[in-house]
């Protein structure tokens, strides 16, 4: 029954869910014990996910650490339980492990229904890990949908403001997107010559799916997948759920949402749209890049107007995720050889934005915990009352606006290198978004942490040790990627190489 089984990925993916199950049957009593149990589990999962990253061999087989056995086999329908990582997913698995631990630390102040809270948080982590490692479309979709329930519960129960509205909006948007994906998955499955949900088959260029045998036009399939991933990314004009969900979610919810769940959209675009539909991506690169540029600029302009800290970061995410689309659109290079800069930049942007935004949300969470407001107008001069939080904000803000030697710089630069070769004018427009980013980030930091301090904040205290742990973890990762990015870019490059090679083979064929 087992075709292959290494076990490491299965354990990494399901450890949080098993822990959640143990919590649910009531092995632990007392909020304190439950919190530290969650820390233990996610720390263990982080170690495992780092192990996945470390054991992934560059230049080896494309997919490694496979776990695979038959799930459904009736003759006409075949699906398998199939996990594996390549250079694209291995770093994202590590990112999920890192942010999972940070989210638990950021949740220490949650006081009501603690057990349920950590159950949902742990289930969420399993779902996201599963999305990044699943190599069977049915399993991929399963994890993709599984993530909705915990997130819905986290926002609607432990959120603030119009939490039930925001949770439902998040849910309906995502389900609508994934409904289109479901049609596409089914259509790919019934296309003659496929007959399987195996994603690795579809990723081999020229072996599985081509226009002559597809059940729906290839362009339709491309856009059906694109809509599902664009909602998740999110891209203008389907981004409207994000500010609401972010603003009303609890801190850990925002960290997971911005840190890893948006990355599911980017991962899907790279894995499915770029990996399985290279020709369609080349054909439709222009609309994709235009959507990206609109997201970058629109997101940045709207961000400038925000006075709520969380809403501000949420809109900045829309802006930064637009860069992913520009990076992906770089494949439409005219003449010459396609370099991997754009695609690697898009993948890097997923990773760096995860850590940067994660840090920003953790820091906002601490500020909100102490001041009970997120309104920038009411804050000011917090820096000398909360030096650790201020440093965290400065660091993440600087990385977010692309300061060299911090991680954001690397990914943005790569995206622009790649994008410029394909669409020079549009890329230059997008660079304007970075200038706006400098505006809103510095403006926010200045209003919040510097300037005159209202008297009521005089007795504020700085982050506690527990608060400081996620701050330190994320800050280290931001600097580590910024100073020496090669350890990460090389892995991404390894994962994206087959796609780039496919294009170059095609390009060479066209010029001949």
């Amino acid at each position: 029954m087992f075709n292959e089984f290494n076990g490491l990925l299965t354990v990494t993916v399901f450890l949080p869910a098993v822990a959640a199950l143990l919590l649910a049957v009531g092995i632990l009593r007392g909020d304190r014990a439950i919190r530290w149990f969650a820390v233990l589990v996610t720390a263990g999962d982080l170690v495992l996910s780092v192990l996945v990253f470390a054991l992934f061999q560059r230049g080896g087989e494309r997919f490694q650490l496979l776990d695979r056995f038959t799930w459904i086999d009736t003759g006409t329908v075949q699906a398998s339980y199939f996990l594996g990582v390549d250079g694209l997913s291995a770093p994202l698995v590590m990112l999920t492990g890192l942010l999972g631990l940070c989210a638990v630390f950021a949740s220490f102040h949650v006081g009501s229904r603690v057990k349920e809270y950590f159950i949902w948080l742990l289930v969420l982590q399993t779902a996201v890990m599963g999305v990044f490692t699943a190599l069977d479309f049915l399993l991929f979709f399963l994890f993709w949908e599984l993530e909705l329930v915990p997130m819905y519960m986290l926002i609607s129960t432990w959120g603030s403001g119009r939490r039930e509205y925001s949770a439902m909006k998040f849910l309906i948007f995502t389900i609508l997107g994934s409904a289109f994906m479901l049609v596409a998955i089914v259509a790919v499955f019934v296309s003659s010559g496929v007959g399987s949900f195996d994603m690795t088959l579809l990723l081999e260029p020229g072996t599985a799916l081509d226009a002559g045998r597809a059940a729906l036009p290839m362009g339709a399939l491309f856009w059906l997948f694109f809509v599902a991933f664009a909602v998740k990314l999110p891209t203008w004009p389907v981004h409207t759920w994000l500010p609401d969900a972010h603003t009303d979610a609890p801190t850990a919810g925002s960290v997971m949402l911005a840190g890893v769940m948006l990355k599911m959209g980017g991962y899907g675009l790279l894995r499915v749209n770029a990996g399985m539909f290279p020709e369609q991506l080349q054909t439709y690169a222009l609309p994709v890049v235009i959507l990206g540029v609109i997201s970058v600029l629109y997101g940045a302009v709207v961000t400038l107007r925000q006075t709520d800290l969380k809403r501000l970061i949420a809109y900045s995410s829309v802006s930064h995720m637009g860069l992913v689309l520009i990076g992906i659109g770089s494949v439409a290079v005219v003449g010459g050889v396609l370099t991997d800069a754009g695609l690697v930049g898009a993948a890097m942007q997923l990773f760096t934005h995860g850590t940067i935004t994660g840090l920003l949300f953790v820091a906002v969470g601490i500020v909100y915990e102490k001041t009970h407001t997120r309104n920038i107008m009411e804050l000011g001069g917090l820096a000398n009352r909360m030096p650790i939080v201020a440093v965290a904000f400065l660091l993440a803000g600087a990385a977010s606006l692309g300061l060299p030697s911090l991680s954001g710089f690397v990914s943005e630069l790569l995206v622009f290198f790649g994008g410029f070769r394909a669409f020079p004018a549009l890329t230059i427009l997008a660079v304007l978004g970075i200038i706006l980013a400098a505006g809103y980030i510095l403006w926010m930091i200045q209003r919040t942490f510097f300037g005159p301090r209202p008297a009521r904040w005089d007795s504020l205290t700085d982050a506690t040790l527990v608060d400081a742990i996620p701050v330190a973890l994320l800050a280290i990762s931001i600097v580590a990627v910024g100073v020496y990015p090669v350890w990460l870019t090389d892995v991404f490059r390894d994962g994206l190489e087959p796609i780039v090679n496919g294009y170059n083979a095609g390009l060479a064929g066209m010029t001949r």
């Binding site: 799930w71 329908v77 049915l138 599984l146 439902m168 289109f180 479901l182 089914v186």
Partner: protein, 504 residues
């Protein structure tokens, strides 16, 4: 009629005999436990006889049932297809019998009749899934419907009486219309047997301009669909559904929503795939239209419902629509060999039975204790009864069609069959279906939200007796099992529909 024929219909005879036994038992005891016990244990007899017949067909038994099944007196086809539904109907009946244990306390003087009528109706359903001749179909349909109409009116209140009356009258009208269609078919083909009808229709002269090749056939098929649409609870023949669902006794509604529906779909498949096989290029469009209408009406109107039983009435209309997508998907233009439309319908019906029974059993328990079916009164149910609330939540998630539940696999399977037809109309139908699934998420999740997030009206615990809990447990476990390991049942469904392929 030979002894062998008697053996072939022995499951039906055993079930009908059981109904009589229950009435006799009712004369001697007033204890509900006895009635439930006799009914439940007695169901083992038809189930065992059906299992014996399956074993013979599979070749592992000793008898002589052929792989394509056997026909009794040209009226009943005992084959893999009918046996598949026998098990589905018997399982649903058994679980509903168990769950009725608490509920029938509301009708102290009519308990025996309640169980006996349910068993008689189940007999009608088992006949219906095997019937391959029009008169038999009509009789089986009436045997299915009349006991249900009586059961709908069992509660001593006006709503229940209204439900029974509505079910009876609309049922009678739709059977009359259907009977007219049957008469037309007979007049046109000269036979009431489905296999002979198929031959006659295939050889009939046809006018290419009129759908189905002739106005008489067009009219007949449409009239038949009216009757079948009533039983399937498909729009636009769904008017009775919400009222009956709201007013009738909840266990009977659970029974109606799964067993009766499954039998109706089995009937539609047998009549259309075998009897009207040569016309499939025409009728699939008709069924696709019904599917789109049912899904959309069911889901849109369900949003506005406050009563959970009424909401499930609209939900069942919507699910009839999804299933019809699978029924319509048989008419492939690319040939029938690789079409998995029929098997997807069978799997969907089984998955829907498990999920809907789980939901209804939880509703029976909760409604019994809090004496209300208003969704607002479900507030804080997670604290008052974690078991019921979690079971109901899982069933609702399954009904949305979200993985890893049974209906998700079923939907994948149906959509795959539909896209596989290569008709662009069917692709659009799939898109309508998935958009409808999104709409349905809203109202299903609202119930979960009320149960999990809103405060409880009081902290009184909500529980049930052990037979009810056992039934709920079995239904919930089979729902989860079908989602995690659907392979066995999918394979059984694919084997069952082989008798439909390639005509009579």
């Amino acid at each position: 009629m030979t002894a062998y024929d008697l053996y072939l219909i022995s499951p039906h005879l055993a079930l009908a005999a059981l109904a009589l036994v229950v009435i006799v038992v009712d004369l001697f005891t007033r204890r509900t436990a006895w009635l439930v016990g006799v009914s439940f244990v007695g169901l083992a007899a038809p189930a065992a006889l059906s299992a014996l017949q399956v074993a013979e067909i599979s070749g592992s038994g000793s008898g002589g049932l052929a792989a394509e099944g056997s026909v009794v007196l040209y009226t009943l086809s005992i084959d893999r297809f009918s046996l598949f539904f026998n098990f589905l109907i018997l399982a649903a009946t058994g679980l509903v019998v168990l769950v009725s244990h608490d509920y029938v306390q509301r009708m102290p003087r009519l308990q025996g009749e309640f169980f006996a009528l349910m068993l008689l109706s189940a007999t009608g359903m088992m006949l219906l899934v095997a019937a391959s001749e029009l008169i038999t179909i009509y009789i089986a349909l009436e045997l299915t419907t009349l006991p249900l109409a009586a059961m709908a009116a069992f509660l001593p209140n006006g709503r229940s009486g209204e439900a029974g009356m509505k079910f009876l009258i609309i049922g009678a009208v739709s059977s009359a219309v259907m009977l007219y269609g049957m008469a037309l078919i007979y007049g046109f083909t000269g036979s009431t047997r489905l296999d002979e009808i198929a031959i006659a229709l295939a050889g009939a002269p046809s006018s290419g301009f009129v759908p189905f090749g002739g106005l008489a056939v067009l009219l007949a098929v449409s009239l038949l669909l009216v009757g079948f649409g009533f039983k399937m609870s498909a729009a636009p023949f769904q008017m009775w559904v919400p009222d009956v669902y709201e007013g009738a006794p909840t266990p009977m509604v659970a029974f109606l929503s799964v067993a009766s529906k499954a039998a109706a779909f089995a009937l539609v498949m047998r009549v259309f795939y075998i009897g009207f096989e040569s016309l499939e290029g025409d009728w699939w469009i008709l069924l696709a239209g019904l599917a789109a209408l049912s899904m959309t009406i069911g889901n849109l109107v369900a949003i506005a419902q406050r009563n959970i039983k009424r909401l499930f009435g609209y939900s069942t209309i919507a699910h009839a629509g999804y299933i019809l997508v699978g029924v319509a998907a048989v008419a492939t233009t690319s040939g029938g060999a690789d079409s998995f439309g029929p098997s997807s319908v069978l799997f969907y019906l089984a998955a829907y039975t498990a999920a809907n029974l789980t939901a209804f059993f939880a509703i029976v328990c909760i409604g019994n204790r809090i004496e209300s079916d208003e969704i607002a009164d479900y507030g804080g149910m997670i604290r008052r009864s974690p078991f019921l609330a979690i079971a109901l939540a899982f069933a609702l998630i399954a009904l949305i069609g979200v993985p890893p539940t049974s209906i998700f696999i079923a939907k994948i399977y149906i959509f795959a069959a539909a896209i596989n037809t290569g008709e662009s109309l069917m692709t659009w139908l799939v898109i309508i279906a998935v958009v409808n699934s999104v709409v349905s998420a809203y109202y299903y999740l609202r119930i979960i939200k009320v149960m999990f997030l809103q405060p409880a009206i009081n902290s009184q615990r909500v529980g049930a007796s052990w037979p009810v809990n056992v039934a709920l447990g079995i239904a919930a476990l089979s729902m989860l099992w079908l989602g995690v390991a659907p392979g066995t049942l999918l394979a059984a469904a694919e084997r069952a529909v082989t008798v439909l392929a390639g005509g009579s």
